[in-house]
Symmetry: D2
Subunit: 330 residues, 4 copies
């Protein structure tokens, strides 16, 4: 699907016009940016190549820079009213810009117009680092800025956008970090081992709705086989992980009895390490009645904010039927 | 509002007919229950009085007992469709039987009919110990019982209903527990002291909706001035406590600086215990940017089930800006 | 044993000489302090009375103040070599000044001499707020001070000493806080209830030894019947609480089965709340082998420092057989 | 140092006598065990080879089996009185059998004699899986066994001993697990990141003494560069990890400020992600006085038992200046 990436060493050796043809579209309608970066080759790292391109934008004459910023498309192109189409679910799920209520759609329109009227160029933001709610929050905040601050901010966002594009296109040493990671881990502190088979769901929590991003089940190590989000920036926003620990504790340790027995094998049995027959059917840790009726903990929601799209968010759950702890781990 | 309660010692001394007049309505349409209890006076405790009355029911001839059970009103009398009236919010809030959707209202009707058809008497449940969801769950489960089990269960529920009525009416030693307690406590583990000024909300979480029960703010000890629920049975169901810890940590320790300084007073200053001037404006524990943007923890939801209406549920929160622990405390 | 305390209102009404006779010894060899405080009666609170007395010291002529400070006895009077006598164990236990090694005894002697040589008055410290280790640490630190700082510090310590004496002697409103509190609470997070019957020991941890202060066993609420330390200042120092949780979990929930069943009573059994026969012998939460051999947690030590003699230190333990949490609570 | 390991495939192809020469000493003075295993080649895994050898012992005639067991050397050969020699510290540290007090030395002697008198063969135990205390505990317990149980147990221990020898000698697929792992991880929950630079010490806690095993300092990820114990069996026993968190929190976040700022970068600064000048010198999380004097937490001891020599014990610490949590992780 994705075209093969170009190698940095190959780019360093290309004729100027081929180099510009290869990278000209990284900066919107501005092949002169690639031309400037061609002139300072070789670039030892992908980050250095990107800095050279950004440097060309910052060094450009004011009119050229202004025209460059103004030439960016309006955010609206990715915005859709939820009732327009049966648009397919975005890869990351959540509450995408393609699923706006009529009211939100109008609000985007008004904000775009107000921004352009005040600053003379469109609202530029690296959409892939944001949720719908954080874009709306940014819109409101940035409309309050003065012109110099906002021009600086537009250039910073263009830096983030083009960094993503360049890393997608070029492979080589020293690539800047453009992806984040969201992971979890569930430990059963009542039995001192990973909680296997716990159903997990990840939601984006918007101001007016919640959108499912993905579901997973913990493996024998209490982790999900794949990270909850990886390989792309995390979107700034509020999230909720829900863990079905009630079902896990109701089921009891039976399905992973072997592990349990190994872990609790008495030293006297060192050479045998097999459960005594009467231990095979060992009752679960919580009585049937308690759970069938109404367990203290059933679905545990953990709500947290993501502020660093390129960060690693590890959000573990340490649980018993009567308690839990969560934290930002590493 | 509430009529004054009768004293147990007074009841023990009353003529039989006055005694029966006073307690005759505790057991629905069954003054003979009070008559039987009058005959075995004096009762040393309120619990003993209640046991004597229950004993009379259990000792009654089958036809009389059957008639007694069948004489109970249908649950429907407390059930209302949400659109019927502007019925005032119940004291405990939540998702009361007076706020049913049309669909739920129909469902109650069908269940009532099915129950009566199978058992020949109405579905009896101590409503004050239940939420709407737990009543529906009980309905479904109890319809599966056989007649003997369900007759036993109806008597047990009548025991719970009349225990509440009797304790409301009679004061004296040895009253059975008829009230539960829900409380919380917020500790700031980053600064080692109670978290004051944290906004808390308590919700009932139904299968299809959530209902606010009450709001509170933590005091200087990190507790709420009054228990979240007290003085009545807790209703079996699912609840959520939400804690606005993001706002608390953003605000920082300033409002309770004096406590903070006392707590951290160095031993060298033992006789003065006043902050050094440069400590007065001590910066909050988290940077402005971090919180203004998107704190890791903002509103922390703790979802838990209540299974024991007469239990004490203490649900504390031990929090830092990056972690929290909750548990069933005592 | 203790003589009855005088009432503040009585003191306010006494003739001057009787007042001075009653309070003259609060400030060492300085009845003029009580005389000054007599002249500004009535004092609305015990704290105000103390402040009046301290104020008299601070307002005294330099020579008188100097003589007052110099008139204090040397610390040595309470210091004993451990091998001197079979001196009875102090009430609070720990590593008292009456149990010094020969080396420590010599060190105190050298420090006393050095202090008097530098400042011209004895080292004054409110001994009841300190352990032996914190006194030694204070000695070393205060020897580095200049004369003005140390004169100020001596007055502050005299304030702490006389505050304790005055509160012991006078009862009335507005007494300053002179006592601290050390308490604990053990919760079993595997079963969601207080851990009853856990053996606890409290030690003072000195730089070269540890001294037992007291032992206790948790009651049905997971607390000790009396606070671990109360009614006197906490001594600044390092402490260790040890909790025998291994024995607790090995024993299992049997001894408090009734509570356990009440807590986990299924809603279906609401009217009976008695365990099913097969639940009576419910196995403990950890297998016999695991614990007999070598449990993961056996004796849990919690080591902590006390810096505020008049503070409340609540140090709870939230434990499972495989985890625990502790914190400074409230 | 270590001779190169033999390959399983090579062993499968060797002439019988060479095979026996290579593996004959794995089972003490019993080349007939290797001979039997030679006859059932090829063995698909190292575990299968070991099972074949164990099977030969179990299938041997009673006299031969008895002679084999009795031919094992007495434990005493590894036992030394601490004052005999300046014997070098064992690799794993702790309280080795080479550092017995005179009293312990005598005790071993008495136990050896009693065991041989009762069972007719020496006490056999896989020493590398035990501490001195657990060997003494095993001795006491196993002396109570009957002869059949103890013969079975001796064979089981021989299985453990020869498993270690075989895995050290033979490489190939399906090797049984003979090594354990002890690791830790320190997280600073007050700042939401790994705690770097925390000093850690690991001790073996014996009934009468404690022995240092190793020291380490956490790296930028809050872990130790190498596992605390790896590459050998963990010795059954009691251990203590001590963490110098007081010093860590006193030092404050300065040394890893860059990480801190990245983590807390406000979304408004997305393109710059550099600290504002006034943030550079951000004050540490705890006031100087608090820590200089007497922090609440200084050295945190975590005491735990190891019961599974081949297990993975991950013992993390989640800490703030006022709280901590530990658990058996994975």
């Amino acid at each position: 699907m994705t075209p093969p990436r170009l190698s940095l060493s190959g780019l360093n050796a290309l004729p100027v016009d081929t180099f510009v043809a290869a990278l000209g579209e990284v900066f919107e309608h501005a092949p002169w940016v690639a031309e400037a970066a061609a002139a300072t080759r070789p670039h030892p790292t992908v980050a250095a190549l990107h800095e050279a391109m950004i440097g060309a934008v910052r060094a450009a004459a004011p009119e050229r820079q202004q025209a460059f910023i103004a030439g960016h498309p309006e955010l609206g192109s990715r915005v859709r009213r939820a009732d327009w189409t049966d648009h397919s679910k975005a890869e990351q799920g959540g509450l995408g810009l393609d699923r706006l209520s009529a009211e939100e759609f109008e609000r985007f329109g008004r904000l775009n117009a107000a921004y352009r009227a005040k600053f003379g160029f469109p609202f530029i933001i690296c959409v892939r680092r944001h949720t719908r709610d954080s874009i709306l929050a940014q819109f409101a905040r940035r409309l309050d800025h003065d012109a110099a601050t906002e021009r600086e901010r537009a250039l910073a966002e263009i830096g983030l956008i083009t960094r993503l594009r360049l890393v997608a296109k070029v492979e080589g040493p020293g690539a800047p970090a453009t992806t984040g990671l969201l992971s979890t881990h569930v430990l059963d502190l009542a039995s001192g081992r990973p909680a296997a088979g716990v159903k997990i769901a990840l939601y984006e929590i918007g101001s007016s709705a919640r959108g499912l991003i993905r579901e997973a089940v913990t493996n024998a190590d209490g982790r999900t086989d794949a990270a909850l989000i990886a390989g792309e920036p995390l979107r700034i926003g509020t999230y909720e992980l829900s863990f079905e620990v009630g079902e896990y504790f109701r089921r009891g340790p039976t399905p992973i009895l072997r592990d349990a027995v190994l872990r609790t094998a008495p030293q006297d049995e060192a050479g045998r390490e097999r459960p005594h027959p009467e231990e095979r059917g060992r009752s679960p840790r919580v009585s049937k009645g308690e759970v069938a009726g109404m367990p203290f903990l059933n679905v545990v929601p953990i709500r947290f904010g993501i502020a660093e799209p390129e960060g690693h968010y590890h959000v573990p759950l340490l649980a018993t039927p009567w308690s839990y702890t969560t934290y930002r781990g590493s």
